[in-house]
Amino acid sequence: MMESGVFLEREALADPLHIGSQTLHERLILGTGKYASFEQMAESFKVVAAECVTIAVRREKLHDSSGRNILDYLDLERTILLPNTSGCYDAETALRCARMGREILRGLENPGSEWVKLEVLGSSRSLMPDVMETLKATRELVKDGFEVLCYTNDDPVMAQRLKEAGAASVMPAGSPIGSGLGIVNPNNLQMIVEDLKQGDPDYPVIVDAGVGTASDAAIAMELGADAVLLNTSVARAEDPVKMALAMDFAVRAGRLAYQAGRIKKSKYASASSPEHGLIADRPARP
């Protein structure tokens, strides 16, 4: 029977992720920046059936309206856009950016209109968040009806504060944006996951930024992240389409491993074959 064969039914793997009022079925969230071409971006999204992608808000060019629009390369029928406030350095600017993004998405009738990836930066070199402004912006945006997905650092206390402020998801960085350094403090990430999910197991924690290659995404998921948001590692890979696929497999593998429950680490070995019935005595040394 197919059901008991190696091909797991999609149904059996169905593992929806609820973020605010949205439900995602794919746990890889991709950014739309930095691709060599819109075509390459579209191909990368197609190969993983991207369900949710982030997008930025910028000033319209006033003297060159001949430019192609990114929206022509996104499957808006089946893609939830997640507008961000990238490049904002204070709460006030982030609020304006979020409201303008919401207005555009409402006009497009995209389901992503009511949520926002909040990013309030504190340093243009590290692109680390300004957590004070991020917290302030979160409160204001929540008051304004937004579902806020908060980019933040990997500080468990700050993560807790943002959740308390009403963030629909807290999204700690694994390492600096675009750095490709991976999850530099897995211990902190694990604490964030445990703290935020205590008594609230479905609260979504998303690793946002820092992923360099597939194993980083898998590690994030193994540590209990609910999803991974990445951009540069795919867009700037030598073969973005292939890397997108690798990330998709990694996120799935990491998620399954987390659910499966890994074995405990131990200093010494544990033989996989029986200790009894050996055809010769083993040496006396330990």
Binding site: M41, A56, L62, R99, M100
Partner: protein
């Protein structure tokens, strides 16, 4: 002669005829309404305001769209 006024659009100084609406400004700039949001003096304008709201001297207008980003 039609009088003109100065406004600021996306940080740039612009001269437009007095009484220009947001919708008319977009036409003048050859910008389609589909994927843009307009902010006027720090307040986001709903699409319904585009034809109703006339611009005043020294108004600060931001016209934004969606671009690739992470």
């Amino acid at each position: 002669m039609e009088s003109s006024m100065r406004i600021t659009v996306n940080g740039q100084d612009f001269a437009v005829p007095a009484g220009t609406t947001i919708a008319e400004l977009l036409v003048q700039l050859d910008i389609a309404q589909t994927a843009v949001a307009v902010e006027l003096n720090l307040e986001v304008q709903p699409k319904t305001a585009f034809t109703e709201r006339t611009l005043h001297p020294d108004d600060r207008v931001e016209i934004v769209t969606l671009v690739g980003g992470g």
